[in-house]
């Protein structure tokens, strides 16, 4: 059994089921209670579970993440919502210096099972600092896990896994995809393992690696290229950004011999560079062409009047495919 839902509804459903099944689970954040979240991702949960489990906190990211660390140390399972990814910076210290390191510093004595959910990414016509894609900050932090779903089915399964994970997980929700489309999602509490990428479309000529909102651009470009040139692109949704699923990356390269990485994060030191390094280490001899990246530029995400020019477009992705295959 299942039903057709948006990514937002799938996320709400995952939290609803975990709140229902595990009384240690609680949600903390700004405007997530009575208001149901600025994107409505916690809609109905406050009414259902009460103010002690779906907590409207003071407006303070360090306070929210820091107290969630304490709640977690003392047996609760907090899900923190940070309203937008770029608002996490005041709480960054708590994440990198404490949540990420607690298990290590105590040799496994104290862990911090904790999920930080946050909308991220451009394409929603948001004001300044509502559209950042800075996953690399977290993927550079040992002790954290970074997850970014691209569809409702994965969002539910990955979020349930994240809530059950013994380590802190940053759960990046592509804002642009919250209501972009619906998909059949099973009613039960299913899990998608953290750390596993997914081959979304099989192909033989080139592999496109993408995640989050960029997966749609990758698939659309692949579809158009096939129609125009007959080239078959394999499309891989990484889903977990740290630790990366090296095996799936390498297997795909062995099959196609070419790679294009599409991410909306800035190019320099973005995850694309890490994926290229993995391929370089593990599959260099299979490569028929240099690996290209189609990414956001190395500029602050610009105001929405020109943000479409910052983001990788289907045309830019197609161009990248053409250049790589005809190298």
């Amino acid at each position: 059994m299942g039903k057709s839902v948006t990514m937002l509804q799938a996320i709400t459903e995952a939290m609803d089921q975990k709140l229902d099944h595990d009384e240690r689970v609680m949600i903390l954040g700004e405007d997530i209670g009575v208001n149901g979240g600025v994107f409505r991702s916690t809609e109905g949960l406050y009414e259902k579970y009460g103010r002690d489990r779906v907590v409207d906190t003071p407006l303070a990211e360090a306070g929210i993440i820091g107290s969630a660390i304490g709640l977690s140390l003392n047996g609760m399972v907090p899900i923190v919502e940070i309203q937008f990814l770029a608002f996490i910076y005041p709480g960054f210290e708590q994440l990198v210096s404490h949540a990420a390191r607690m298990r290590y510093r105590t040799r496994g004595q104290f862990g911090v099972p904790l999920v930080i959910r946050t909308p991220y990414g451009a394409g929603i016509r948001g004001p300044e600092l509502h559209s950042e894609s800075v996953e690399t900050f977290f993927a550079h932090t040992p002790g954290l896990k970074v997850v970014a779903p691209s569809n409702p089915y994965d969002a539910k399964g990955l979020l349930i896994s994240a809530i059950e994970d013994p380590d802190p997980v940053i759960f990046l929700e592509p804002t642009k995809l919250y209501r972009a489309f619906k998909e059949e999602v099973p009613d039960e509490m299913y899990r998608i393992p953290i750390g596993q990428a997914k081959v979304v479309q099989e192909g033989s000529d080139l592999t496109i690696f993408a995640w989050g909102a960029m997966l749609r651009e990758a698939l659309n470009a692949a579809k158009k290229i096939e129609k125009e040139k007959g080239w078959k692109c394999e499309v891989v949704d990484l889903r977990t950004l740290y630790p990366l699923d090296r095996d799936t990356i390498v297997q795909s390269i062995k099959k196609t011999g070419r790679a294009l990485i599409v991410h909306e994060a800035h190019k320099t030191a973005g995850l694309g560079a890490e994926i290229i390094s993995i391929i370089n280490d593990e599959a260099l001899i299979y490569l028929k062409a240099p690996i290209k990246r189609v990414t956001g530029f190395d500029v602050p995400v610009p105001p929405f009047s020109i943000e479409d020019h910052y983001l990788p477009t289907v045309e830019r992705v197609k161009q990248g495919i053409v250049e790589t295959i005809s190298f």
Binding site: M26, A62, N74, G75, M102, R107, G108
Partner: protein, 370 residues
């Protein structure tokens, strides 16, 4: 250094002593009723604990000088604040110390050899005894205060009779996390005790440059929580204050902000030279001679006939032996193996860490190929 006024006032220039809660004055006289709350055995425990910590602290500074330990943060002068607060807790209470609060941690159950291991840079240095809730010393400033809100909040949600205590210094009160912690604790009425040891300096910056508020305890009013300013070198006053804060917390009256006025005699750490920023002799001599936490309790105990020099000598000798035993244990403890640096990053490990660990193992076995 410019010589102006009383060194007490220099160290805590906005501090006005009359506002402080005192019980035991520097002459060792009880000037405020203790209402039978501190019996002889507790008094002796307080004194012996302070004596143990002072011996431990001096030993640690020496070990650092001898190169047997890394950089160390001494707490000499702050023993009453650390012992008094820690003795007022129950065994299951949560403690969030900083790098200068290993004294409090020891009194709350941390083992001496573990503290040595921490300063000797051993990976196992932050592990506390089974069943204890002593968190690793917080190195960034004020960040642990919000954790103490979280654990206390969970205790409240679960209906457990425990408090959480966060230690911090005067410098921490300038950090955003200080305000966020007090605000959260106020909003959720968490059983949290915020215990500030105002020792007058955040490394080199004196309190008058740190804050324009007259006291730290007054900030409690901004969050509508209970605030107390106490003589941090008066162990009776500290214990009674923290005890009251514990009772308030457990009876649902929420958090308390305690400002304990004290002084560190030595450097911020063994890597620091306090003579650059304060007149070391003038200031610490004044505090040692006039306000020392051990001396005043000792005077009182002597007068009451509870303690004498013979006991003192015998106890110091015992403590030296105890500390040496722990030092030997720490020095004989199997060294951290480099390959262990990959453990406990995640509960389940990860392919990249396993491989990097393997790589290091190979290097250790064969050396790097030239």
């Amino acid at each position: 250094m410019e010589k102006t006024g009383n060194p007490i006032m220099k160290a805590h220039s906005n501090g006005d002593e009359p506002d402080m809660y005192h019980v035991l004055n520097p002459d060792g006289e009880i000037i405020e009723s203790i209402d039978g709350k501190i019996d002889k055995s507790l008094m002796l425990k307080m004194y012996e604990s302070m004596l143990l910590l002072r011996t431990f602290d001096r030993k640690s500074v020496n070990l650092q000088r001898q190169g047997r330990m890394g950089t160390y943060a001494p707490f000499e002068g702050q023993e009453a604040a650390q012992v008094g607060s820690a003795l007022a807790l129950s065994a299951g209470d949560w403690m969030f110390p900083t790098y200068r609060d290993h004294g409090a941690a020891i009194i709350h159950g941390q083992e001496l050899y573990r503290v040595f291991l921490y300063w000797m840079a051993h990976l196992d240095g932050s592990v506390c005894p089974e069943g204890k809730r002593i968190l690793p010393p917080s190195v960034p400033i004020a960040t642990q205060m919000v954790h103490a809100v979280g654990t206390a909040w969970a205790s409240k949600l679960k209906g457990e009779e425990n408090v959480s205590i966060a230690y911090f210094g005067d410098g921490a009160t300038s950090e955003g996390d200080f305000h966020e912690a007090l605000n959260f604790a106020g909003v959720y009425k968490t059983p949290t005790i915020f215990f500030c040891q105002n020792n007058g300096y955040a490394i080199s910056v004196p309190f008058e440059k740190q804050s324009s508020s007259k006291t730290i305890s007054q900030r409690a009013a901004a969050y509508d929580i209970h605030g107390v300013r106490v003589d941090g070198n008066d162990i009776f006053a500290v214990w009674l204050t923290v005890r009251e804060a514990v009772e308030r917390a457990l009876s649902g009256q929420g958090p308390t902000l305690i400002e304990a006025i004290t002084f560190r005699y030595g450097a911020h750490t063994t890597a620091d030279n306090p003579n650059i920023y304060r007149n070391q002799d003038e200031v610490s001599t004044f505090w040692r001679e006039n306000r020392d936490p051990l001396t005043r309790l000792k005077k009182f105990l002597h007068r009451e006939g509870h303690w004498n020099e013979e006991q003192e000598d015998k106890t110091i000798k015992q403590f030296n032996e105890l500390i040496d035993t722990h030092l030997q244990k720490a020095e004989a403890y199997p060294k951290s193996s480099p390959v262990e640096m990959f453990d406990h990053v995640y509960a389940g490990g990860s392919w990249h860490l396993k491989e990097q660990q393997q790589e290091l193992k190979q290097i250790l076995k064969k050396g790097v190929k030239k």
